[in-house]
Symmetry: C2
Subunit: 235 residues, 2 copies
């Protein structure tokens, strides 16, 4: 990972006009910058674990991260897929709790941590930014509730189709306009979709034989988006 990338990793979160922090004064930004750390996590490394104490607001500058919980008998459920320029672990931070899930880098990732105390000092004087963070959390709560219903009520095909669409939504498509810009293991795909790995593999093959998608190792291309959406909606 080029050192330069690391240096500018934090830049977006503080200075980009699209960032929720852009309304801050130069002084406040300086204060946040003085209390931040940037870190590189290699593919497969844990960023935080269930039970860890949050040290600040983690901003994902680069890479892909899965947030997951351990369920019955250690079975993993992926709660969320994080993408660049998003926040990680802010739920626990704002609930004043330890992390209720773990985060793992699915690719080499750069994160930028805005230290807790400095952040809250600034939030206490900036309701606008606090409201913007609140909006993000409200969005996420809506997604979580919807996901609960999908994961419990849809059948395997619907759940897997929904996950593929979620990945497209989160990470987009490659230049060819049909390949999902995310290369997950079948196991991760299964843990995202609440099914066994075997069933994820099987159902992917079925989708491929139905020409909904094409498969090439971990590379998944959407051949028929409309039909895939229909499969996702049908349950």
């Amino acid at each position: 990972m080029a050192l330069k990338n690391l240096e500018v990793a934090c830049d977006y979160f503080l200075n980009d006009p699209d960032s929720i922090f852009s309304p801050l004064s130069e002084e406040e930004k300086k204060d946040l910058f003085a209390n931040h750390v940037c870190t590189v996590y290699k593919k497969g490394e844990i960023i935080f674990k269930e039970g860890d104490k949050p040290t600040g607001l983690i901003c994902l500058a680069n890479g892909k991260v899965k947030i997951f919980k351990e369920g019955v008998g250690g079975r993993e459920q992926i709660v969320r897929m994080a993408s660049p320029l998003g926040f990680i672990g802010y739920r626990a931070l704002f609930a004043g709790q330890n992390y209720s899930g773990s985060a793992l880098a699915l690719e080499d990732s750069i994160v930028c941590i805005l230290e807790k105390e400095a952040l809250f000092k600034i939030l206490k004087n900036n309701a606008e930014i606090t409201l913007a963070l609140m909006k993000k959390m409200a969005d996420e709560l809506g997604i979580s509730n919807t996901r609960t219903v999908s994961l419990t009520q849809k059948h395997i095909r619907g759940r897997l189709a929904e996950s593929l669409l979620l990945l497209v939504d989160t990470y987009g498509l490659e230049e060819d306009g049909r390949t999902i810009r995310a290369y997950l293991s079948r196991e991760d795909l299964a843990n995202l979709s609440n099914m066994t790995t075997s069933n994820a593999i099987r159902t992917l093959s079925t989708f491929a034989s139905e020409k909904l998608i094409s498969l090439e190792g971990r590379k998944i291309s959407i051949l028929d988006m409309k039909k895939l959406e229909r499969v996702s909606d049908m349950g």
Copy 2:
């Protein structure tokens, strides 16, 4: 419903020292009060429907309310049970979206609606209160994520046991120290626990025959809390 109750319904939310609005100035409270409506909903009445536009922050002064979503084939999933002195529908309000679920009064209920514009005007100048609301939402997001895992991974017994414990947690026990202070239909219990009504009935009977609970119509008493917790934890 006594009129007096209606008049004082809003009182807690604005004036009680435990309320998140207590830090407001008298003037701000007056402003909120001038822009509020109190309403009584009879048992079975809809408070809002999926797709409706939020008009303000709904505070439940009295009663019991279920928040639910329609899933595959109209199948209902109860997302949350609201109890007095809690907020309803604030997720959509802060996400700037229409309601993504519906709310229905399970008993005669009094709600107090703080009008949107007046509320936001005040929140913009009070990061402390905004942070307090954010904490509530962060708590709820944690619960939602945990629930997703429980509802997808636990078996029927575990899911039902968890729901019973959730009801105890939310509404408490009667004076006898063992009867759940909430009298849901088997169908609601099923929709809370992600199972069919038949299975809710069957599993309740099994719990009763195992002396975990006792049943008397809708009255459910916990006979062995420890064992019930164990059933919930085992999945």
